[in-house]
């Protein structure tokens, strides 16, 4: 039970990060039906920028929380600019091109950003300075009870605040209504006096800002960063967006959290269920393996990256429109 609870807490934390990143994918898809594959790289750049600031300030004597906040407030504008430039330079000229062209461009942008990051931050795995003292809050009385750390609490709270803020922005403000109108019919939105290009830029910039914060969260949570980290993270968040129904904000949140839980529980339990001695009780042929190495499993926790894609495949086969999606996508 403690293990289960612990994996749920870990999964929720991870799921919140996926959800925030998935929102960036789904917002852009919602408005111009483009899968912005470079979004994972925007998250990476946010993480790296925050890293540079945190390293520079680590010895300054400022309180750790202030350093992380300063890192975040540097990462956010940097990513907003990156998001704006990507749209302006790479996607806008292809607005009316066949759908495959911007998709391939997105992959190209992603490679370009990775290599820019490589030039700036080197090809090494970068360790975040451990400035935040990890505190564990036990959820039970024994020392083995499930625990939630202060970093996990911060990640979850920050994510929930951002998601709520985004929902308010999209549903309660004038620019939010204009975003939804543009996604439903850009030509008519123009007839209403909406500068459609500006609304699209705004969408990219907001998505990139969320991505920046997600990058800082990933960096401080795992304590490491790498110029290729955006690829897998982006792909998982994209899978989460598809799981929830791409183009749907609530779907991205739901899909992200489910994805985090699936990954954490998968990593926690699939190893036990595929342990060779456990399998020996039900299936013939495992007794030698159990005798030789009783600890080994067919699928260990190192398979955790696989679950996201199993989910993606299942969704695409059985419910292509996603859990909360209505329109069945016939688009690239």
């Amino acid at each position: 039970m403690d293990t289960f609870l612990q994996q749920v807490i870990n999964g929720l934390t991870l799921g919140c990060v996926y959800a925030v990143v998935a929102l960036g994918y789904t917002m852009v898809y919602g408005i111009i039906q483009l899968i912005n594959f470079a979004h994972g790289e925007v998250v990476m750049i946010g993480c790296m920028t925050a890293f540079s600031v945190i390293v520079a300030l680590a010895g300054s004597g400022l309180p750790p929380i202030a350093i992380v906040l300063l890192g975040t407030s540097a990462a956010v504008p940097v990513c907003m600019i990156v998001g704006y430039v990507i749209e302006r330079v790479a996607y806008r000229p292809l607005r009316n091109a066949p759908r495959l062209a911007p998709l391939i461009t997105a992959i190209g942008v992603s490679i370009v950003l990775q290599h820019l990051a490589l030039l700036v931050w080197s090809r090494n795995i970068i360790a975040f300075p451990q400035i935040i003292q990890l505190k564990l809050f036990r959820l039970g009385h024994s020392d083995t009870s499930a625990a939630i750390s202060n970093v996990q609490v911060a990640v979850i709270v920050a994510s929930v605040v951002m998601m709520a803020g985004l929902l308010l922005l999209v549903h309660r403000t004038k620019v939010g209504i204009a975003m939804r109108a543009t996604s439903q019919n850009p030509l008519v939105a123009g007839l209403m006096g909406v500068d459609v290009n500006r609304v699209i830029s705004f969408t990219f910039v907001v998505g990139a800002a969320l991505g920046a914060v997600a990058g800082v969260m990933v960096g401080t949570y795992y304590g490491i960063a790498h110029y290729q980290m955006g690829f897998l993270l982006g792909l998982k968040a994209f899978s989460a967006a598809v799981l929830g129904g791409i183009g749907n904000l609530a779907g991205a949140v739901l899909g992200g959290i489910l994805m985090g839980l699936i990954e954490a529980l998968g990593a926690g339990y699939v190893g036990d269920f595929t342990n060779v001695c456990f399998l020996d009780k039900f299936l013939p042929g495992f007794s030698n393996a159990c005798f030789a190495s009783p600890e080994s499993s067919l699928f260990g926790s190192n398979y955790k990256d696989v679950y996201a894609f199993i989910v993606l495949i299942l969704v695409l086969v059985f419910r292509p429109s996603g859990l909360l999606g209505e329109r069945v996508g016939d688009r690239a």
Partner: protein, 236 residues
């Protein structure tokens, strides 16, 4: 000076000229209609006026300035509104939100609220359903919403593209009642319509388009009596 004047307007789609040099004028306070068969260039003319398609030649003068190079939203912000063919309501926005989009370029809140009440007065059905999404409305109600939304921008010139298309006869009558009410308020109207009789009976002046050119023009009453119009468009 006319509020809207087209001078030798040409529009081409991929090399094919759909509008081949149209001269047309709408005076302030007038209700002018454009009639003609399918493919005569009526809708294309409206699309060029509102910036949805670029003009291939000629000029579009609105309030004395050439607007043919402006972008769609810039033209809209000058007070030239279009109710597009097929209504173009935002199906997943509520009626209230659709109306808010109509007033998007305006900042005076109290005046916008007053106009909202005004259009609800004109279209009571919309008020009853203001929290429903527009996609749940019937075709006629969507046409009403599209017109109400356009009025929310306080247009100086309102262009309507086929407002009667696909509507039941009773709805058509209602739509034209509203058009007359809008005209009576002093809004200048440019109406594109397949139902030539209804359009001419409602308008002050009319233009007949054929193959991308204006073939006849004049007082609506005179056109109603013109034997060529009667034969080709009124089915007599």
């Amino acid at each position: 000076m006319s509020l809207l004047a087209l001078e030798a307007l040409e529009v081409a789609y991929g090399g094919i000229r759909a509008v081949k040099g149209i001269d047309l004028a709408v005076e302030s306070g007038e209700l002018v209609c454009l009639i003609g068969a399918n493919g005569a260039g009526k809708t294309t003319t409206l699309r060029a006026v509102t910036g949805l398609v670029p003009a291939a030649g000629g000029r579009v003068l609105y309030d004395g300035a050439d607007i043919s190079r402006l972008r769609v939203h810039e033209i809209a912000r000058r007070g030239l509104a279009l109710v597009p063919e097929g209504r173009g309501v935002f199906p997943q926005l509520t009626i209230e939100e659709n109306l808010a989009m109509g007033a998007y370029a305006r900042s005076e809140r109290s005046a916008v609220r007053a106009d909202e009440e005004r259009v609800y007065g004109l279209f009571p059905r919309l008020k009853e359903r203001r929290r429903q999404t527009a996609g749940t409305l019937s075709g006629g109600e969507q046409q009403m919403l599209a017109m109400a939304r356009a009025l929310m921008s306080r247009p100086r010139l309102l262009a309507l593209d086929e407002p009667s298309m696909g509507l039941a006869p009773i709805m058509v009558e209602k739509v034209f009642e509203v058009i007359r009410a809008i005209a009576a308020e002093g809004v200048t109207l440019l109406l594109v319509e397949q139902n030539a009789r209804l359009a001419l009976e409602t308008s002050h002046r009319g233009y007949v388009l054929e193959g991308g050119l204006v073939t006849l023009q004049g007082e609506a009453r005179a056109l109603l009596g013109d034997p060529r119009v009667r034969e080709a468009y009124l089915g007599e």
